[in-house]
Symmetry: D3
Subunit: 137 residues, 6 copies
């Protein structure tokens, strides 16, 4: 849902002026992990039911944020420079799906790791300097 | 948001029991095209504003349905058999983004064409027989 | 959310140019049925909780798609030609509500049957030729 | 999305214990009317664009609330007692669609009138005493 | 999502022309309470799971409606006249969060009570005469 | 929608185990600002209409994220320690409403500034150490 200039005359903005940051996917993924952890620490029926459904919702947001990075932020020249980008996003989004299904915190931790890999590539791009908000310190 | 068995013991369903159909992406894409066509046929301010925003919404649904096919339906062995799958989905989802930005019907027609390519591959898979609802006649 | 021309001058499009297809309701209803079936085949707490909530969500989408057909696609002359349309949609949408409440696959199968009846009428209309995407083969 | 007991044993609640009130549809319809009125009172491009899209959103909520009354609150014995219910809801929901398309306040006023008719019938039912929240004073 | 005139020239409407009514929060809160009550009256796994998730959803709507009143309807002069407004809304929205977590009907009843306090203040304002729809009789 | 332990026995987690970060509000606010900036740089009708509606959507997300911080993260002892918290959140959420209405980038910049103030307080709390993800470097 990010915004680009739609015409040739605005080619610069079409490429470089959006606001993107892997922080959005990462924050939701941390929330997914917390849902899994807390589920196991509780024996309350209501709490556990809520942990399952909130994890589902947060993992769906992870999918959304990753998909926005993949198809809105990354351009053909990034795919050339980082040929693993397609498969990495595919595995990361699939992992978010697995994190919906599983209460095993290791599944969520793997998701966080994959988002970390996406993030590393994001911050290596020239374009991230203009569009990213929370660069690694 | 499709449902798979989440445990090892249910491996069969994890792979083959969902309900998927490229028809969902295609119907929304046809709606995107109609919005573009009708926008040009009208000179009413209100109608045109609605055509822009309804097209936006429908194109977002196209993105969602394509993303579900890519990361939920397709499995590693499909990627091996159809190595163009990653890039095809990337271009198709990017095209849905372009169709948000542009009122040129040709942009929406290209989107429909790309969904057609996804659909062709979908229906060539063994798994589509069990999960698809509207096979090509 | 379908789009029509809003002014008198565009009466043709106001009536005949949208994109509608009962396939949208049918695909979600099949997903509802699968949720009910899979719920019974599993004894995993997490899986069952997810089956309940995903079924809820899919049944809500069935309601939405049926409502769009009823009030956006069908026009007064269709109600005259098919006097059962009002009651059929009422029963079908109520059935989607019942399918939310019940894990009995028979309830979902009845929903699929009622959508089949809506679909039959849809494809008998003259207007479906222009607006439908997946005609019966 | 209202809640009923799903089993035979809870038949009383299945019929009489939900929370429904035509106030929900009416409040959104008044908002639709205000959007139409304010659109005409402004010549600001941004304001007018927002009036169109907020009206669209509010009218969609009207449709949703009317649909809930029609298929969740009203039961077969209400249809018998008030045979106009099906057609009244159909015309009211269609009117909400017309109110999306038109900036003419008269179209929104007609919508408010039709919701008034639904409301009159709602408050004549025995069940409204238990489920309604804002009875006519 | 309420609509105000965005320019200085339309200051009157910016303040007084929206449509607001605490009825929206109250109706959802009554639904939250019913979910809690019905949860305890049932021993059906599916029913109880649905009661938890529908309560969650309804409580989220309560939060939304209260937030709209707090930041869209109430103006600085209301905060001066009713200095408890900030803390009251904070406690009411927090209570909606507690009502998500707890199946204790007393928690939902407390929520209804707090919305009642908001409502009392709302109807004491001069502006409510123009924007409210369901005044106390 | 963050998750807390719902019972007395889990008081520690009720207070300290969520995942919160003002980064979520900030990233959306930067996007709001970009929409305002780009709107002025374009004279394309379609682009401008999209800038208005995407800004609306992003500003709504800012409101949501601020509201979550205010009523889910902050506890009574924070309100005591930072007595400006209520009014600050009220002004910040109101500013997000103003940023919906206005294309003036200064309005969005003021919003970013207010979120900065919320962020400063957030990171001064003891609890942020456990729940925050992107601390100031």
């Amino acid at each position: 849902m990010r915004l680009f200039r739609p015409t040739e005359a605005h080619a610069h903005c079409d490429l470089f002026c959006g606001v993107y940051d892997p922080a959005q996917a990462m924050i939701e993924a941390k929330s997914v992990l917390q849902c899994a952890n807390k589920y196991h620490a509780s024996d309350d029926e209501v709490f556990r039911a809520r942990a399952i459904s909130i994890k589902e919702e947060r993992a769906e947001l992870v999918k959304h944020h990753l998909s926005v990075l993949w198809t809105d932020f990354f351009k053909p020249h990034h795919i050339e420079a980082f040929p693993q980008l397609h498969d990495l996003h595919w595995r990361a989004i699939k992992q978010a799906g697995d994190a919906k299904k599983s209460m095993d915190p290791a599944v969520s931790e793997k998701l966080i790791e994959l988002i970390g890999e996406v993030s590393d590539i994001f911050w290596q791009t020239e374009e991230s300097k203009a569009t990213g908000v929370y660069p690694p310190s």
